[in-house]
C-alpha cells in the first residue's frame, strides 16, 4: 500500500502505521490498529519524511 495512517502519541509525537498486504482495507486496518479514541489521518506515503534524523521530534498536525 502506498498509504500510511498517522495518529498522535501520548508524549506529543506521532505514530506512523505501515499497512501490510493482509486482505484488509486501510480503513479496516485503521479501525483495528489505531488505539481506541485516538484521532487519525490516512496520508500518502510521499507525505511522510524519509529523513528520520529527527524522527522523535515529528508532530501530528
Amino acid at each position: 500500500m502506498n498509504q500510511r495512517i498517522i495518529y498522535p502519541t501520548d508524549d506529543g509525537g506521532v505514530a506512523v502505521i505501515v499497512p501490510a498486504e493482509c486482505g484488509l482495507t486501510i480503513e479496516e486496518i485503521a479501525a483495528k490498529d489505531v488505539p481506541a479514541g485516538k484521532p487519525f489521518k490516512i496520508v500518502d506515503v510521499s507525505d511522510i519524511p524519509t529523513d528520520r534524523t529527527f524522527r522523535n521530534a515529528w508532530e501530528y498536525a
Binding site: A15, V16, A20, L24, T50, R55
Partner: protein
C-alpha cells in the same frame, strides 16, 4: 478371496450412486484394511487426529515429516520490514501492520489475535555494515494478544536506533 459387500440403510430413502469419471484409463480404488468412515471433499476430517507417514503438501509448500517424538509447532505471525527511510514491510504473515512509534521503536499488529499474551517471540534488528544493534523486547509495554512492541538499540550506547533489517516471529 476377500469379498466386497454393499449394504443399504433401512431408515433412509435416498439413492447413493457410484459414478465413473470421464476417463479411458482403468483405475482401482483400494480401501484401507481398517474400520472407519471414508472422508470426501467438502466433508473435512474432524474429531480425529490425522496421521501421515510421509511428507504433506499444503498448496505449494511441503511439510516434511519430522524426526523424533517432540511435537512441532507452526509460526503464528511473522514480519520482515525496513525500519529506516521510508519504513516498509517486505513480507509478512498474519500481520495487519507495523507501527513506527519513533526511532528504533516498532509495534507489530496481528491480523488475527493470539489466544493469549503468553506467546514466544523472537525479534531482531540490524543495519548491516552501519551500526551494531541489539533488540529490546518487549519495549515499554507488555505483549498483548493483538500486538507486540519492540525496540532496536545501538550496542555502543543503548540508544534506540532504526534498523534496516527488522524481523519478528511469534510462536504459541
Amino acid at each position: 478371496m476377500s469379498k466386497v459387500a454393499l449394504s443399504g440403510n433401512a431408515s433412509g430413502t435416498g439413492t447413493f450412486t457410484i459414478a465413473s469419471p470421464n476417463s479411458n484409463t482403468d483405475r482401482t480404488l483400494t480401501l484401507p484394511d481398517a474400520t472407519g468412515t471414508v472422508q470426501v471433499s467438502g466433508n473435512p476430517i474432524s474429531g480425529t487426529t490425522a496421521s501421515f507417514s510421509g511428507d504433506v503438501t499444503l498448496g505449494s509448500s511441503v511439510l516434511a515429516t519430522p524426526s523424533g517424538s517432540a511435537p512441532s509447532y507452526l509460526c503464528r505471525a511473522w514480519v520482515n520490514f525496513n525500519g529506516t527511510g521510508t519504513v516498509a514491510i517486505r513480507a509478512s504473515g498474519n500481520v495487519s501492520s507495523i507501527t513506527d512509534n519513533g526511532t528504533g521503536d516498532y509495534t507489530v499488529n496481528f491480523t488475527a489475535a493470539m489466544s493469549d499474551a503468553n506467546y514466544s517471540f523472537a525479534a531482531n534488528g540490524s543495519t548491516p555494515g552501519v551500526t551494531n544493534l541489539y533488540t529490546i523486547s518487549p519495549l515499554s509495554a507488555s505483549p498483548t494478544t493483538s500486538a507486540f512492541r519492540f525496540g532496536t538499540a545501538a550496542s555502543s550506547n543503548g540508544v534506540l536506533t532504526d534498523a534496516s533489517q527488522a524481523s519478528v516471529t511469534i510462536f504459541r
